[in-house]
């Protein structure tokens, strides 16, 4: 299978990319790792007139920089770079674990975190994990801006990126030391897109209670979402099994999955509940919070 014909260019500077984007706008596509773009071009779902290959920008835009409060990740950083990063394993273990479950080894060697976020697939893994971590993205156009990921993801395959802009960096705040985390991706078979994917972060208060919690859910809505109601009922509590059930139920309420080969809408909604529950249990346990035992009358 061949893509449609296109012109090709591999600029050496971000400014050159921006010049080309201003000229070609919607007719140009940026090639990062190409593991979403090329399959779509081969299937002729899209046929850009110009492909702007970012391979020569890797020196500038592929990095994991450890700051005091945040980790800065260059947009061209591959899934494999994140999977194998010692900095991230130590400070934000949710990210290497998310990477480990993406596609397969070969895909992870090519695919990039920036490409995945800019692609905004409703079943993508990075949008979910990054949403749970309250990450922001830096966008370069005529001027530079940094916006929260929650405002970046607009819908299926739609983001706040203008045709004349490029995503350059993801800024991830480090959760406090001792936080608990969980990544639950349910896939029909190894390497598949998620049927549902859930990220959870639990920050303990040091006295066995939940100080803060975030739950992000993907694949069951046009865009991933934060289960804010479920987060609210967990804050300040030492949960028991009943509260976890309630939180999982509330988290799944907002899910509006569609029926497809991966399952019926009803099944996926139930699965969302199950995966949130499992993610919470794991994140709580990693945060050192034991469940309150409920008295049975």
């Amino acid at each position: 299978m061949y893509p449609r014909k296109f012109s090709y260019v591999a600029p050496n500077r971000v400014e050159e990319v921006l010049t080309l984007l201003r000229k070609y706008r919607d007719e140009a596509k940026l090639l990062a790792g190409g593991h979403s773009l090329l399959p779509m071009m081969k299937l002729r779902i899209i046929g850009p007139r110009l492909v702007i290959d970012l391979k020569n920008l890797r020196d500038r835009l592929a990095y994991i920089r450890d700051g005091a409060r945040v980790v800065r990740i260059g947009a061209l950083t591959t899934h494999a770079d994140i999977e194998l990063s010692r900095t991230l394993m130590r400070d934000i273990p949710l990210l290497p674990e998310t990477a480990r479950w993406i596609g397969d080894m070969q895909v992870r060697n090519m695919g990039t975190v920036g490409g995945s976020l800019a692609h905004s697939d409703p079943a993508g893994d990075w949008p979910v994990a990054m949403l749970a971590l309250d990450a922001s993205v830096t966008i370069q156009g005529a001027r530079k801006r940094t916006i929260p990921l929650s405002r970046f993801l607009k819908g299926p395959f739609t983001t706040a990126l203008k045709p004349t802009e490029i995503l350059t960096e993801i800024v991830v705040p480090k959760p406090p030391k001792g936080h608990g985390w969980s990544w639950k991706k349910f896939e029909r078979r190894a390497g598949d897109f998620a049927t549902v994917n859930v990220a959870a972060i639990v920050v303990p208060d040091g006295r066995g209670r939940v100080k803060n919690v975030s739950i992000a859910i993907g694949s069951v809505n046009p865009t991933p979402y934060r289960a804010v109601n479920a987060e609210r009922i967990l804050r300040g509590k030492r949960p028991d099994a009943g509260l976890l059930d309630k939180a999982a139920e509330m988290a799944a309420e907002k899910a509006q999955p569609s029926s497809d080969l991966r399952g019926s809408a009803e099944y996926k909604k139930w699965l969302t509940r199950v995966m949130v529950r499992r993610a919470l249990e794991e994140a709580l346990s990693r945060a050192g919070i034991t469940l309150e035992m409920t008295q049975h009358a």
Partner: protein
């Protein structure tokens, strides 16, 4: 004169001039090739149809089956990494090195992975084998002593439709052992 030999002297697609054909120079199994290719030419088709090395297979052509797996050096630092050549443009490996199944045997001696697949009956029809071996090599270069679980995880991107996974995993285990003992990598 030596200045002409520098990288900058090579013709390159630049922002000023988007191109309809692009020059690529790739070293495959130690041999330098250079061609002008259409930008849409996929690496697997370049390897098979232009260079003529047909050991790298096209299975699904949709990034799933892994039959087209090759190693590329220079994508992530200086290490060899396994990629699916049906999902790369040839231009993406311009100036880099590629290793295909044909490049594994040295001086008429099979690579330990090839030998292990033979000895452990790690193949039936053989269609997936080149990709399976290249993925295994990509895994072993990163992790020379993988557990059985890690081997399975490492080859999730390679499908065998003869259901031969058990023997494939055994083959990779055996090869890993020999490679460690004899200090063999590529």
């Amino acid at each position: 004169m030596p200045r002409r030999m520098t990288r900058r002297a090579r013709p390159r697609a630049t922002a000023e001039a988007p191109q309809e054909t692009v020059p690529v120079r790739v070293k495959i199994n130690g041999v330098e090739y250079s061609h002008n290719v259409e930008p849409r030419l996929l690496l697997v088709n370049y390897i098979r149809d232009v260079v003529g090395l047909t050991g790298t297979h096209v299975g699904c052509d949709t990034t799933h089956c892994g039959a087209c797996t090759v190693l590329v050096k220079g994508l992530r630092g200086d290490s060899w990494v396994a990629v699916k050549s049906c999902t790369l443009l040839t231009t993406q490996v311009d100036g880099k090195e590629v290793l295909t199944i044909e490049g594994l045997a040295k001086n008429g001696e099979l690579h330990p992975l090839q030998k292990a697949f033979w000895e452990n009956h790690g193949l039936q029809c053989g269609f997936c084998t080149p990709g399976m071996i290249m993925s295994a090599l990509g895994l072993l270069l990163r992790n020379p002593n993988p557990s059985r679980e890690e081997i399975k995880w490492g080859i999730t991107g390679n499908l065998c439709r003869c259901t031969g996974y058990i023997n494939i995993v055994k083959s990779i285990e055996a090869a890993a052992k020999e490679m460690r003992e004899k200090g063999i990598t590529i």
